[in-house]
């Protein structure tokens, strides 16, 4: 139910640094998949996944800041809402160039990001003004969470389809049903880090490392999914999986180091004694 409030919202990185990392890094990763079209290949699809990881770290940090106030509904709810808003906004942003020929395809992710921020802002304002949640950073956090949700969603879709063009995402991600995977997996990357690490001893670097690690796992799944997409060759999918597994190993080792650093004592207890040993 209620989140264990008491996690202090400070940390190694201040909010603005994380926002810059997530928003700029996420959009850069998504836009760098354009190298695919420029060089007529699909090998650069993994960059979309890296963009998604950076956006997920941002989302996880925003969740961490807002949830330390105690929402009363648990951390998962806000992560599912992030992707709920993100999916609506990103599908709108990406499909708009398709519907209105005057809008260039390049504008898609930016429009999606902007629309997500607007939806987030309105929902944040409603939470405070109508539902009287009285969380001072609610509006700002909702904007961040919705924005990062949209970027995670577009980044992972681009990693699967090789492009953020709606014409490519539609057959590769939506019609195949991988969109459901992106939806739940993307929400996990945003909601799980704080949900797993919350408590009085919560530390920003440890929580965000879980975010990177979760992002790498869902990126690996996106890589596997892209193997089933006709327009993608096997090498690009395999590259996405390999890159994400390398990121995962590095992040997980680092996470374990942080756990050992923050723990009072880490000791091996051995296996449970057998019945004979107890006698």
């Amino acid at each position: 139910m209620s989140t264990a409030a008491g996690g202090h919202a400070g940390g190694v990185l201040n909010p603005n640094q994380v926002i810059t990392l997530g928003a700029v890094g996420g959009l850069a990763g998504i836009y760098l998949t354009m190298l695919n079209q420029a060089m007529d290949t699909t090998i650069f699809s993994f960059l979309g996944g890296i963009g998604a990881i950076l956006a997920a770290v941002w989302g996880a940090d925003a969740v961490r800041r807002v949830c330390s106030y105690g929402l009363g509904t648990g951390v998962p709810s806000i992560g599912m809402m992030a992707l709920g808003m993100g999916i609506v906004a990103s599908m709108f942003g990406l499909s708009l160039p398709e519907v209105e020929p005057g809008i260039p395809v390049v504008a898609g992710p930016i429009i999606a990001f902007g629309v997500a921020a607007i939806i987030g802002l309105i929902i944040g304002i409603m939470s405070n003004k109508i539902l009287k949640m009285n969380i001072p950073i609610m509006e700002k956090s909702m904007v961040e969470i919705a924005g990062s949700g949209a970027l995670v969603m577009i980044g992972l879709s681009a990693a699967i389809a090789g492009s953020y063009d709606f014409g490519a995402i539609m057959p590769a991600v939506v019609e195949t049903g991988f969109i459901a995977l992106v939806f739940i997996g993307g929400a996990m990357t945003i909601l799980h880090p704080f949900n797993a690490c919350l408590g009085p001893d919560e530390k920003q670097d440890r929580t965000l490392m879980v975010g990177i690690e979760k992002g790498a796992l869902i990126m690996a799944i996106a890589g596997f999914a892209s193997l089933a997409v006709d327009s993608m060759d096997v090498i690009s999918g395999a590259l996405t999986v390999i890159v994400s597994l390398v990121i995962w190993i590095v992040a997980f080792r680092k996470f374990m180091r942080y756990v050992h650093r923050d723990a009072h004592l880490v000791t091996g207890t051995g296996l449970l004694p057998t019945e004979e040993e107890l006698e």
Binding site: M1, S2, L71, G72, T73, G74, P76, S77, I78, M80, M81, L83, G84, M85, I87, V88, A89, M91, F92, S95, L96, E98, V99, V115, I119, I122, I123, M126, S127, I130, L131, K132, M133, F166, M170, P171, V174, E175, G177, I179, A180, F183
Partner: protein
Amino acid sequence: MIDPITIILITLGGVLIGVGVHFIPVGGAPAAMAQATGVGTGTVQLAAGAGLTGLISAGFMYNNLATSGAFTTSDFMLVMASGAVGAMIMITVTMFIGQLIYVYGVGVPPVSAKVKKDPITGDVQDIYVSKGTEGHGVPTVSFVSGTIGGLLGGVGGSMIYVQLMEIVGDPTNSGAVALAGIFATGVFYVNSVLASYNIGGTIEGFHDPKFKRVPKAIISCLIASLLCAIIAVPIMGGVI
């Protein structure tokens, strides 16, 4: 170009979902330890579980009716009924199995701490509440309330889905089906989370004093769903 009826019905669907959440007996973490009335998980998980089952059953019915000729108003009613029944089955099964575990596993009587007498059966409640808890299990009134919640959620979800499919008007277009499904899911999550913020995480059903907060949820879900509906119509237009 944009049909106002479509937008109104999508918005209404979102509001129904938001109201439906208030009927579902959500106990949250305390209920998982049998220290509060309701099913021991969060609002979003319960509402989404029931709502998504409703979407599947509505989608099945829509596919059957729409591919076999023109889609009429009575077909629309049938699809919504199918969605409602699907969601109701899911939520009642969840409550029933939870109840078995509470009664035979944990060993507590299903009882509400918010009312002295069950408004439906008239059974005395307060003397059965264990000390230090806020009730436990799923008493009759909460069970009935949860079923109503499933009905509203299922109707709301299938209403959104059908309206989106009708914009495209081609039930055989797999892209449209997937997009309408995932979009309905997105709207479902936004509305159920807003509603769960309104009840602050836990509620026992329509007899709970927190239920009086429904008007606030209606306003917020109305605004949020309207926003989503205005965005939805061009998305579905992009599929054609």
